[in-house]
């Protein structure tokens, strides 16, 4: 909070490193699942 009436929330950044980079370790089946998940998030799974 500040005098200008704005509400500021500090964000932390997660650093990419080999240990937290699970996406790179996924096999093709998992990648398909992630793709399907993304399709669901954006509601275009019926289009794909």
């Amino acid at each position: 909070a500040s005098d200008d009436g704005l509400v500021r929330i500090g964000l932390k950044k997660m650093k990419l490193d080999p240990n937290n980079r699970l996406a790179g370790q996924l096999d093709s089946k998992d990648r398909e699942a992630l793709r399907a998940s993304m399709a669901k998030k954006y509601r275009f799974h019926n289009d794909l």
Binding site: R8, L11, A23, G24, R43
Partner: protein, 442 residues
């Protein structure tokens, strides 16, 4: 009430890299959440989550400890990758900065299957999308902030610091914009489909050259909950080629270029409409707006029993990509031999769906910028902005910030502009005027 409206998907959690702290209940119980403009629900782990390992590594909401808790109990499911996070709705006060949002519906997650969430540094998600995509018709936190008169203007804005280690990761500002975090003026574009922060964008440029694919407009979603930039395979392949990203060879693509490449060039030169070329040569059906696969698995020439071997579902999109690539090269006045060679090379750089593409860290300085046209203005990303470094020093690996995602018309072609883009460009989500604005981040 339908299955579709009761499920919201979280994408690959690794794509969500920025998170902040909120409090739920009275006294406030602290949670770290991803502020996600690509979804609209608030979700945190529940103290009633007993059988999921991930719950033991994160803060959990204890309704019994809150004097402002109100029971709801309606079940909810959040789709994620190979499983689904499930739980039930509850109602309590939510503290965001110094604001207290009263009577906020949120999901208490009681099951977080798999190992994915175990290592996550955040506990949950706070969705900043529109109510239209909210699971269980829950009123999003942002809507309640507005309704309860807690903020000055109906605007929130993101500044994501992509630069220096050890500094603040970024800042989300509710109620306006922080002039310290951008330079110049914002370029605003109207929201075209409420639900997501979706807008129309123009062409994508590699170097200074237009790719042509989005010249007639593409849709784009500004999504703070996704780190990468996702877009049509046709363009991602061109980017892969330009930056030397690893890809996979696509045989249908190579066969189309070999067998039909010259014909495609001839048709383009003769002035045929690019969208009709693949149907003209029999590789797609034409639905009046674009080519569509004909659903032919394999076509055999009955007279000699030989299979053509290429006419199946992937051939039409391969042909359509080849048309775009060749048209792009023709406009660049390349020779026909070079065009065919270029298209063949692109067939070796096809991205894995939603996969990562590695690049050589040593070549970053020689890679071209990639730019997006939004509101008639060009928004450039330099290679050090769109390449992500994983690890340090000689052990460092570099991956492209671009990933492929194909959405056919009418929803597509679609781009997801995640943190890679929002890091370079301070982003304003103007709910009051239903528009999104971008300006150079400071």
């Amino acid at each position: 009430g339908s299955e579709e409206t009761d499920i919201v998907a979280l994408k690959n959690y690794m794509d969500a890299q920025y998170y902040g702290e909120i409090g739920i209940g009275t006294p406030p119980q602290k949670f770290t959440v991803v502020f996600d403009t690509g979804s609209s629900n608030l979700w945190v782990p529940s103290a009633k989550c007993y059988f999921s390992v991930a719950c033991y590594f994160h803060s959990k909401y204890k309704s019994g400890d809150s004097s402002t808790y109100k029971k709801n109990g309606k079940s909810a499911s959040i789709q994620y990758g190979t499983g689904a996070i499930s739980g039930f709705f509850s109602n309590d006060n939510v503290q965001v900065g110094h604001l207290v949002v009263k009577d906020q519906d949120f999901i208490e997650a009681t099951k977080e299957p798999g190992v994915t969430f175990v290592a996550a540094k955040f506990d949950g998600i706070l969705g900043l999308g529109f109510k239209e995509i909210s699971v269980g018709d829950a009123v999003p936190v942002w809507y309640n902030m507005v309704k309860q008169g807690l903020i000055q203007d109906q605007v929130f804005s993101f500044w994501l610091n992509r630069n220096i280690e050890g500094e603040v990761g970024g800042e989300i500002v509710f109620g306006g914009v922080d002039p310290n975090h951008y330079k110049g003026k914002h370029t605003y574009v109207p929201v075209t489909q409420k639900g997501y922060w979706q807008f129309d964008m123009g062409d994508v440029l590699i170097g200074e050259k237009p790719t042509g694919y989005c010249a007639g407009s593409c849709a784009a979603i500004a999504d703070s909950g996704t780190s990468l930039l996702a877009g049509p395979t046709t363009v991602i392949t061109m980017i892969n080629q330009a930056i030397g990203a690893a890809g996979v060879a696509n045989q249908e693509c190579k066969a189309v270029v070999q067998q039909y490449g010259q014909t495609i060039i001839d048709l383009l030169v003769s002035g045929a409409q690019p969208v009709k070329i693949c149907s003209k040569i029999g590789l797609c059906a034409f639905d009046g707006t674009h080519g569509v696969s004909m659903g032919i698995e394999n076509v055999a020439d009955e007279s000699n029993g030989k299979s053509s071997g290429i006419l199946h579902g992937a051939t039409c999109p391969a042909c359509e990509m080849a048309v775009v690539w060749m048209q792009n090269q023709l406009m660049d006045n390349q020779t026909q031999d070079r065009i065919l060679n270029y298209a063949d090379q692109l067939c070796d750089r096809m991205p894995n769906p939603m996969g990562e593409s590695s690049v050589d860290c040593k070549n970053i300085s020689s890679m071209p910028p990639v730019s997006f046209t939004i509101g008639g203005k060009v928004f450039k990303l330099t290679p050090d902005e769109y390449i992500l470094k994983v690890g340090e020093g000689s052990e460092a690996q570099c991956i492209s910030g671009f990933t492929a995602l194909d959405v056919p018309p009418p929803r597509g072609p679609l781009w997801i502009l995640g943190d890679v883009f929002m890091g370079r460009y301070h982003t304003v989500f103007d709910y009051g005027k239903s528009r999104v604005g971008f300006a150079e981040a400071a």
